[in-house]
Symmetry: D2
């Protein structure tokens, strides 16, 4: 029937990303959570007893009373969202894919597998083609990039398309929610900044190369931009701010660049996907913007905010990018991938 | 008599930098505050009634009961520390210098006057010679750089000396105390970051060029490093963190650079000046350091902390610098200049 | 015509409460902002140029492009919301009332005027009758209580009704947004608590007495509860938390009290007013709730959250109350009063 | 020899209280840390490798290079400070006492043992006599109260002595460092307050009764004040603020009470113990004081600050108390007990 929702499962449902999936999937027009799965420790309990719910909207009893499953490929929902810890996600996601499930994952494990697309729907929706060639039969794994990569790469995409990118320098001020829950100790971050996030810089220096790359045969050919990243943790709850510098391949005026940001649209906008922002990138002329507290919730957290574009004597331009790390950068971005999968027909015959 | 202390005055004594001068000058072995001066509004009142004391050490009644003077050159102390607002500092500091006072200033107004030295004692103490050629007769103006410049330039100095600097890129995470008092509204910074500090980036891009320059005749010839700065305000009370990238003129290994940081010493250390840190720069090998809360008070806030030195594919190296913005970057740095003036004989016949 | 909205004006539109009125009145089903008014300094400017918009939803250009009026009774909207500073509100509100305007005010000036009702719609809607006897002809003044009073008094109301209140002790942990904008300096509240809020304790000790009082003839007869309040400012953005202790007139069991909280409903719920929460009070059994960050937005910020009810050896019971200070405690509460005025017919013949 | 320092050990040295002991005992005039002990997991490692040092003063290599011992009574230091988790402290402390060690403990386990004194040196130093009757032979256990109890009880002592206390009501705003490390998640406390601290309220309602009690024969007879406590966690790093209300047995004027606070002195002051504050209690007349950030470090964190004394219609008076929870409330208070033990001769023949 046309109006029936597609049942989905959330793997790793008790963690903070898992909770965000549940929060965002409530009232989703196409998907309906029918199963929640987590570690053995949680399995068999009611979800509300297995999790320490920290979202700002109350836990709906519809989910709270679900009995938590183990993360094993015996679920009835064939579309599964993975919010599992990297420690476990690698093997379990493969098990699901082999068993014919479509796994859309926020975990890092398979991001660089040759046949696994690493997707930001507005940037490289065409990479989804890769899954046709995956070794899993009907099943598949599709990955969502790292939270700090997503904001950066969305802002880079129109520049890459219009002017070409030679090099990119980025210094981040990242929110604590990126560290999960309980994550960063309050003793470490109140009145403080931590100039290091384990594993984050290599991700930011490599993931955009694949995302901005091109499908060649059965795999992605990376683009060849030079990227350097320095990552800092700051005492902000949600919203990663990134100070970016770019060297372009062709000259561009300030107004042209702002126009490129503001006019950027892609397939999710054309398809009018439920989680797609009307406008993926907003440019702000006020010097003091973007700010996490003010702009992170733009378009329900799915739009990226850019500001302070100015010339740079070491590169060509410098500017500031802000994106909501747990929405656009995690659960929301992953849901958008699933919407795209559906709309492009990848779920047909499976879910 | 040998043991008598030099009487000093603080101009702009009621503001947050003025308060920090008073806090740091209590028990100074050479200087003794004998006069406090501030705006007309405060003049004539007891200091404790004219100021909203926000330092973490209680206000000594010795100062609290002083009657505040106007900022006019009729003070008996011939050595004056200026913590005045830039709105007034320019003209008043000149008035004092013309009247024969030695003005050591934290205000920005005269930093780029050709005959006014802009001094970090460990970096360019030799620039003090300039004041002999100032137009003020016995009086003189010496300036302390901007708080975010000082940490950066101290860390750059040994690199400039040993390897030469071609370009420097810096992105800052600056503390709220840099905005004075009341300064940043709590509504603007809790759970937030502000990607803009008015006037800060031009200062960071220009001041190091003069400080690292050389005396040629009656003025300073700027050095010719390319610098780009992006400045952010974060919800940290004290301590500016800076993510720095450098391109060197000659190749250098990581160990050589750490050695250059760790072994850096200069005239203030040789002269064993009271406010000079034993070691101006500390290098930390732990990935998570330096952090404002943990390292800002090193050597009473006068040392700079460096960490995370690693190669950078866009420059040669990247690293992180931390310094205490109201001590090393303001009152403490200015006091150190005055100590140097005394020890080098510039105060003779005046104070 | 049935579907035409009532035009309203906001006085004091540029401040933080004024902004909140605009944010909350966008898309209101009954009211439409047709005029904005503020101080002489702002009058004549476009609203977006006259204010420093700090709300988390972007300023709609519909309002941003309005030309700000002076706060003079020559506006065409006859229903006006006052968010003016207490310094000016007193006289200006009277001028408007005398000129036939209905003034619903968040300012403190007229709260204790004998013929002016001080209203929390769920608690004392019947006090609105007072305005019939006001000295202003067709015009009227109705006041909204202090933000910290509202949460407290809403939670007290069912206890007063069912068991009677003898004494109430309250210690508050109040959010910084209660101090307006720029309000509290970040230097004063990060890593800190301020155990004093000017004028707050007297308000909390007196306002509930009038609100819980009864109409007798032309005025309100205060109720006679003994109240003590201690008020603290904490580094929370929105949401006042209050630790309350009560001595009841008649004995009550814990379950009875929770039932009284949970079942409490009043006229705004019966009338199904647009801004009325479905349930005014929610009781949470989890020890760690209510928390500002988690529960402040319950029912769009209009519901009050209660938790930790337990016996108290000095009173009868102690518990914790949380309410959103700028929504339920200011703009939202004031809008609910206006809705009640309309629905009870007080606006007929005027707007 | 007269000048030789007494060797001491710290049990539970790797936790945050253990670290604070090490920080405070560096350069202690009487005691010298000669051994560090912790869990099996840490034993055998260098201290610097076994702990995540979070103090704001760098870890001295003298301690960093010590090999961590297990918490077994085979240490050579006969005076041991216990900073162990309550999970283990109970049995291990007994083992040490039985083996002839003097254990001064910050853990809660033995606080209510009949023959174990619970001591704030300025309040009940005479309770130390109890240890002569302990069942441990030469060994003994002495306990330091809970951090929030100590500030409160120090402030109550002069009132109890001069006017008698009938009832005490307290609502706390407690710092995150009270929760240990990593303790409270930053996700839980930034822009938030938690109205619950597990086990804290019962401690505050019971410990003062023993501390303010009297030695009768072989045990303490509790005093009979009625106490109610409500405990909240706020985003402050160090410093517990407490809103207190008291009902006195005899009438007292405001000035008398302030005098009682200000003039309060006790044995530690008379003996001039190294860690004793010159003045245990400071009264501040400014409405906005005491504040954690401003007053917590008074007298190196060992003094208690009181302010806002005013009449209360439900009790007699209300006021605010502030104390440094990890110094006066934990490591510093415990060290002061050990100093008292030494000076009163309890260590003779043992250490």
């Amino acid at each position: 029937m046309q109006n029936e929702k597609i049942p989905v499962a959330v793997l790793g449902a008790t963690g903070s990303v898992g909770q965000k999936f549940i929060e965002l999937l409530s009232n989703h027009p196409w998907f309906e959570i029918s199963e929640l799965a987590a570690s053995e420790r949680s399995a068999g309990k009611k979800y509300k007893d297995a999790t320490n719910w920290i979202m700002q909207t109350p836990l709906d009893n519809k989910y709270g009373n679900m009995i938590v499953n183990e993360c094993k490929p015996n679920l009835s929902s064939k579309l599964v969202f993975s919010a599992m810890d990297a420690e476990f996600a690698g093997a379990i996601e493969e098990d699901f894919a082999k068993a014919g499930y479509i796994v859309v994952s926020n975990a890092k494990n398979h991001r660089f597998d040759k046949d696994v697309p690493l997707v930001i729907p507005e940037v490289n929706h065409e990479h989804l083609e890769l899954i046709k060639k995956q070794k899993f039969g009907k099943g598949a794994i599709i990955t969502n990039p790292n939270c700090s990569t997503i904001g950066l790469t969305l802002a880079l995409k129109p520049l890459q398309d219009k002017f070409g990118l030679e090099s990119v320098n980025v210094v981040t001020l990242q929110a604590i929610s990126g560290g999960g829950y309980p994550g960063i100790s309050s003793m470490d971050i109140i009145d403080n900044v931590i100039p290091f996030i384990g594993g984050e810089e290599p991700k930011m220096e490599s993931e955009p190369l694949k995302i901005l790359g091109t499908v060649e045969g059965n795999e992605i050919k990376n683009t060849s931009i030079n990227i350097s990243a320095q990552c800092n943790r700051v005492g902000v709850i949600d919203g990663h701010l990134e100070c970016v510098q770019v060297k372009l391949k062709t000259k561009a005026g300030r107004e042209e660049i702002i126009k490129a940001f503001e006019e950027f649209k892609s397939l999710p906008q054309e398809l009018n996907l439920p989680y797609a922002p009307k406008k993926p990138i907003y440019y702000f002329e006020e010097d003091r913007f973007p700010q996490p507290k003010i702009q992170r919730n733009l378009e329900k957290g799915m739009a990226v905010s850019v500001g302070r574009l100015r010339e740079c004597n070491l590169f060509d331009y410098k500017f500031v990018v802000l994106s909501h790390n747990t929405v656009r950068g995690a659960a929301g971005g992953t849901i958008l991938i699933a919407e795209l999968l559906k709309e492009k027909g990848f779920l047909e015959g499976i879910v």
